[in-house]
Symmetry: D2
Subunit: 318 residues, 4 copies
Amino acid sequence: MAEALHDVARIAHAELLTPKPDESLRFFVEIMGMEVEAEEGGSVYLRGWGDYLRYSLKLTEAAQPGLGHMALRAWSPEALERRVEAIEATGLGQGWTDGDVGHGPAYRFTDPDGHALELFYEAERYVPPEHLRPSWRNQPQRYVGRGAAVKRLDHVNVLAADVRTNRTFVQEVLGYRLYERIELDDGTETGAWLSLSIAAHELIYVKDAYGASGRLHHLAFWVDTREECLRAADLFVDNGVYIEAAPSKHAVAAGFFLYGYEPGGNRIEVTTGGYFVYDPDYEPVTWTAAERARGQFWGVHTIESFHTYGTPPVEPPA
Amino acid sequence: MAEALHDVARIAHAELLTPKPDESLRFFVEIMGMEVEAEEGGSVYLRGWGDYLRYSLKLTEAAQPGLGHMALRAWSPEALERRVEAIEATGLGQGWTDGDVGHGPAYRFTDPDGHALELFYEAERYVPPEHLRPSWRNQPQRYVGRGAAVKRLDHVNVLAADVRTNRTFVQEVLGYRLYERIELDDGTETGAWLSLSIAAHELIYVKDAYGASGRLHHLAFWVDTREECLRAADLFVDNGVYIEAAPSKHAVAAGFFLYGYEPGGNRIEVTTGGYFVYDPDYEPVTWTAAERARGQFWGVHTIESFHTYGTPPVEPPA
Amino acid sequence: MAEALHDVARIAHAELLTPKPDESLRFFVEIMGMEVEAEEGGSVYLRGWGDYLRYSLKLTEAAQPGLGHMALRAWSPEALERRVEAIEATGLGQGWTDGDVGHGPAYRFTDPDGHALELFYEAERYVPPEHLRPSWRNQPQRYVGRGAAVKRLDHVNVLAADVRTNRTFVQEVLGYRLYERIELDDGTETGAWLSLSIAAHELIYVKDAYGASGRLHHLAFWVDTREECLRAADLFVDNGVYIEAAPSKHAVAAGFFLYGYEPGGNRIEVTTGGYFVYDPDYEPVTWTAAERARGQFWGVHTIESFHTYGTPPVEPPA
Amino acid sequence: MAEALHDVARIAHAELLTPKPDESLRFFVEIMGMEVEAEEGGSVYLRGWGDYLRYSLKLTEAAQPGLGHMALRAWSPEALERRVEAIEATGLGQGWTDGDVGHGPAYRFTDPDGHALELFYEAERYVPPEHLRPSWRNQPQRYVGRGAAVKRLDHVNVLAADVRTNRTFVQEVLGYRLYERIELDDGTETGAWLSLSIAAHELIYVKDAYGASGRLHHLAFWVDTREECLRAADLFVDNGVYIEAAPSKHAVAAGFFLYGYEPGGNRIEVTTGGYFVYDPDYEPVTWTAAERARGQFWGVHTIESFHTYGTPPVEPPA
């Protein structure tokens, strides 16, 4: 990991697949409060008011919901080169693409579980059009306040048949740091919370209860306050958005959450809170099954679907 | 006062005059988040998402900004009769009107300072159209969440040349209870906070610094949380709404505030907080000039215009 | 009801019985943040920082947890007389006591379900000692900020074998107004939310799942913000207080809640939010069993014990 | 800067000098809610509930208030070596100390303005005593909730005679990144907001209005929510702590603030909010004097002392 450290800066955006593109678009614009920054090749590129790159969500029509790909931004051209070399050494590399709306050439690869990833460096900073120009120049965009008014994509939570293999891959090859994990009594790792920064989690691997591969658990979008999560829940209720888990506080990573399903079937989180890890020698917290049985931070027990449902949906094993 | 007590239930709505009706309407709909419930006779009737009568704001074009009138609702037909009799006895009664959108016959009168008031009993409860039907039936309307998303009109603050005379009038004739007041060393009363309920203030008289009559200091709209006041301030900034007083906490009445000017020139407050007065023998708190010189609750000193500006605007006395 | 209306002002205090007086006292002082205002006759009298009478909770040792009594304050000496007469007419009156710490003569009676109630008028306003003197005189006491720092008692929720009989009693005899209720398909009323003021609930009757009499569901203490409920939940967790229901929003009455058990076994709520009923002709909302099956406002389903547990605890019927 | 990047992890703690050690200690324990972790050599070492190193504040008696020193933690032993070498090359190095409570050998140096700094790597992770053990193991300490209950030291704001020279020094020698700055029309740099992480500011240089050297503007302590800043203001008021700037939102860096003076005379901030900088090529925002004249985010104009007062206090230049 040491050599990968600091070479990757962030998750720049995620591509979400939806079988109901119009309804999903309406959800992200009207309910989540995002802006359409571009439409191209059948995809719509959406941004939160706090994104300073052009967008953090790419919405693409597909037969099944799920994660199209997740795009990471390298820290520098040299860092990009180093990481591509390391990826290629794993045999999981797929080669370069010309880039996409808002960013330059990207190297495409997968994690061991098969999730599609891209890594690029060149990116366009957002320039707001007149009607979205903010009053203060250190804000990338005007605060429109529509719907849940999410600020930006915060983290991506994917399912994997084998958590340990995948989180080790992103640690060693991409420089992620591990802050928390769950390990059952038999040694199976069922969850891993990873980050490239002081934020408590940016990428999460959770064991796929059905043993499937390449699935998405949820995309999480940031708001600055817990009050905004509560307000988002009111908006979900009055707009008929299915709430899978009402606002509460996670035990793991201590983030505040609201989970719902967007019309295409993907789980979406509105999140805030958590803690910061400023020290280089932070010892990951390992949770036992017994501890996890206590529920969330305030004792809430999440419903079964939270532990089994992912996109694309699959049948439970016989 | 004893006989007037409990005869008047509430301020049902206020009529605001504006020389810029289109811009004012856009402000109340887009920035304050109200809904247009009716348009009639050149006026627009607006409601917050928590109003269970049809509206709480009537917006009317006029050459000058200011308060058109303030409409009170009596507790019962008998209470209405009793109050009209009492008003007539003061010589300030003007007679009955046929009513207006959403309410029945109203008795028109003025307070001693000349502000127009109406008192009625019959009122229509709001029935939401399909697109505003709430998910839970104890909510009068869907929570749309647009702009500051104010819930309802909260209180009305008027200026008066002589505060004591006017607040005594509403105490004796309308049954208002006095919770706080300011009295200068020379015995002049410069402010009075009155209520018909446990809420810390519903009607406020403040001395008109210019000695004028019939002017409005501000209309205050309620939000449930201080976070919504802070969020409203962000919306004001990014929409170019002039903020006269940034969010903070009042010393008198302890309410949380944000003050701005709507395009027509009237001062508008977004408010929450305060305290409840449950007891019948609450002793009004009387503040001295020395105490008021300490500023607001956390020491903020409001700017000069807050103590002089009202609508319609008038010239300072020579 | 009409003649009883406005004769009773509020619930002045509740007496809580506890088999663990020392631990209960520590809970209310350290975790809930109340102050000891007096100790007399084996009871401790506690106040929130926003109580302007001397106290709102009386804590008394007893073999079993439960509600000792609930004390109501009449609006005036005349109102007290009128209500006592009305109570006596029901046959549920028990006669006068000399009063208690902080209040004068009280008339003792029960509701039909057997809960002990008292009604008085004379009461002492709180005068803070030097170390609790607030900076602003419209606050009854300094904000100490210890623990959950509850402001005052907010409402009392009792269980009753027959809800309809009891809520009709408090409506007719005490002037309570009914704002919401639950009625099963067979016509059984299983819950009633009542108030003496614009506050959405001050007294709640819920059907005793075990058919017992005179039991308490919970006492609710007010905080001004939802953030304080969330903070209280953190304090409960770290102090080993059992959380029965983590912070969320009620469907009925729309209040924000946190439920836990104090060491004596009584259920305690930390609450805020809700709505105000300003109009005299508010039509109570009647919920069906089907609607209640949707859970709380954001879909949370409260655990079984919430619907069965009360104090004193009793055995489920065979 | 490129070679220094990522070599320094964070500000581990700050040492505050106070002429009133007992009163200052009481302030940080009772009002700010910190815990005493150690006392040694006449200093008291204090921690917030979210510090995972042992402490973040060292309080030391002195004739004058001010900053004793600021201690930075290197990312690794190798990074420490590299930075010491770079510091020595500037001629501002002073040599090694044996360390202090909770950390190993530290290299002592000053910035060009003369503020004392230390850099170390070895540090002890906090192990809570029984009475402060948290319920969840990913929290370093129980949430006690006393006073403002600050979580940890957040940032340090120092005054400097020449801002540009000092911020360039910490960029080049320590790897700080510059996110925002103020530049007057004559080219003078009057403020610089720097960070080692995605947090919008960790170290701030502001021009000393009196041209003095080595002075402190303020230490800022973190809380997770704006509501906690508002609550802290209530506690300041009722405890007689001087509030220099009531809660509001900064224009620069967009953080939420409350400023007061601790009994020793040092300015203290309770802060939250702001934004995150995830990208490596973030272009610093440069503010003009004209833009700064607009006041804070919501238009609040900070009082004169905010721009002149620092510790130790000095006389204005003649």
